[in-house]
């Protein structure tokens, strides 16, 4: 039983893509499509979550994710506060739960959680009051489901039919919660071929268990792909010397226009941000005509609106239905 779902199969928490079925992922994208039109209104908000209190609990730094979650909540007319909580005081379990219970006492309805520990969002979801929804905004190296869904949404906007696609993810797969969630989402949506391109040191011990084709050579891996997803080199998560230097990394795995030309002519280039120009991607590619990196940011708002409203809707349904 998936603890993210209500008894009737609605999304109550959004912690990971793992275990979710294709219709639910499609519903998230369809709803995001509907919410996109709100940005054309003079008043860019709908009163759907009026009176709801949403708490952004950020135990780890973030700009894009935090801002787009805040904007998404505001466009749904919810009240939103953001707490940046330092993780330095690590009597983890207890202090975390104390924080939670305090926020519960303030009658919060939803927690958006980012944490450097894998499993933090799930831990919180297990311990919150039943009327509270928890959305994972990135936990350690584990999952970043809303990022994966905004990436799927962006791909669908450009490419429509998932089974026909060949998609390559390039870079630091080992430390990337984004890659993990992306691979799960792409597989669930039935993408024809998923490739990962990375040096051995930046891949999990047995990458084939991810259900992907592994390439160590970028020229081979990029042949005829429809979508290239570049990942940030995660310096803050690297323990030990996994790479010689950023310059050498760029030489082997940086996406240049020349390498991109090996992909299909209409291939799109994605990156979850923040980008390290000249490390994993060349500046002219990041700013080039095939790049949809800023679109991803825009789509992040609609996708997060979709997930938040679905979770609050499921809570409403659950409270109405007789126990």
């Amino acid at each position: 039983m998936n603890n993210q779902l209500t008894d009737s199969g609605r999304l109550r928490h959004f912690l990971t893509i793992e275990g979710l079925k294709q219709p639910l992922l499609t519903e998230i994208m369809d709803r995001a499509e509907q919410f996109s039109s709100i940005s054309h209104q003079q008043v860019k908000k709908v009163p759907l979550l009026r009176g709801k209190t949403i708490v952004n609990l950020f135990f780890e730094n973030s700009t894009r994710t935090r801002t787009t979650f805040e904007l998404a909540a505001k466009r749904l007319s919810a009240d939103v506060i953001t707490l940046n909580i330092s993780t330095s005081a690590t009597s983890k379990g207890e202090s975390l739960l104390d924080t939670l219970h305090n926020l519960e006492a303030m009658h919060s309805d939803m927690f958006i959680v980012r944490h450097s520990e894998s499993g933090a969002a799930e831990f919180i979801a297990q311990h919150v009051a039943p009327h509270i929804s928890v959305i994972n905004a990135g936990d350690g190296c584990h999952a970043h489901p809303t990022q994966a869904m905004l990436d799927m949404f962006t791909i669908r906007r450009h490419k429509q039919h998932f089974p026909d696609l060949c998609i390559a993810i390039v870079g630091d797969i080992l430390h990337s919660r984004v890659a993990r969630s992306q691979i799960q989402a792409l597989a669930t949506l039935g993408v024809g071929e998923i490739r990962v391109i990375a040096p051995k040191t930046l891949l999990p011990a047995d990458p084939r268990t991810l259900g992907v084709h592994v390439f160590h050579d970028m020229d081979e891996g990029l042949q005829d792909v429809d979508v290239v997803i570049t990942l940030r080199l995660q310096n803050e998560r690297m323990q030990g010397a996994l790479l010689p230097s950023a310059r050498e990394y760029f030489h082997n795995y940086g996406l240049t226009q020349e390498k991109l030309n090996l992909a299909k002519p209409d291939a799109i280039v994605m990156h979850p941000g923040p980008i390290n120009r000249g490390v994993e991607i060349a500046s002219n590619v990041a700013d080039g005509p095939q790049s949809v990196i800023l679109e991803q940011v825009t789509h992040g708002i609609a996708v997060r609106m979709a997930v938040m409203s679905m979770a609050m809707g499921a809570q409403a349904e659950q409270q109405e239905s007789p126990a």
Binding site: D30, Q41, V43, P47, L48, S309, G313, A314
Partner: protein, 175 residues
């Protein structure tokens, strides 16, 4: 079944409404907005009868799902077609069209949504069917037909090609 309205009857009602709309709004080149989904069907038929020049621009469609007042009670609507107002409503005269006016809550939601797009000069309301049971102070300007139904009966327009009304009796459940 207290009322039988087939497509021929409905065409008569639409023609009658179109005459009234022509009499009152012909000077102001109004914009036409239908409420999804029945209201859009009625709006299309009105536009057909009144001719392409009567209204300014294409038909706007409103989906008021995100403006409903029952989200905290019933949650999300299963499927929502996005609203599409392909014009600026600022300082314009609008004709808002729905199939049935009942509690008035849908019209309330539609007005709220319209005002999130801008500030119209005026909004008139046209409904194919006005029934008893209003819960808000909302009245139509143009009405195809008025009917009284017991509160356990619901009337719904089916379409879009052939417009017909269907009456359903709900077993002991209040609207």
């Amino acid at each position: 079944m207290t009322i039988a309205l087939n497509s021929t009857d409905i065409q008569v009602l639409i023609n009658k409404m179109a005459d009234e709309i022509r009499d009152s709004l012909s000077d102001c080149k109004p914009l036409l907005i239908g409420i999804h989904s029945g209201g859009v069907w009625v709006a299309k038929q009105l536009a057909e009868v009144l001719g392409t020049d009567f209204f300014d621009g294409p038909i706007g469609t409103l989906n008021i799902a995100y403006y409903r007042d029952d989200f905290t009670r019933i949650g999300m609507h299963p499927q929502v077609t996005p609203s599409d107002l392909p014009f600026s409503v600022d300082d314009r005269d609008l004709l808002l069209v729905d199939d049935v006016l009942y509690s008035g809550r849908t019209t309330r939601a539609a007005l709220n949504e319209i005002f999130d797009y801008g500030r119209p000069a005026s909004v008139s309301l046209a409904v194919l069917l006005e029934r008893n049971g209003r819960e808000l102070p909302i009245q139509p300007d143009f009405v195809g037909q008025r009917i009284d139904l017991p509160s356990n009966q619901q009337i719904k327009l089916t379409g879009p090609d052939i417009l017909q009304f269907e009456v359903q009796t709900i077993g002991g459940v209040d609207e």
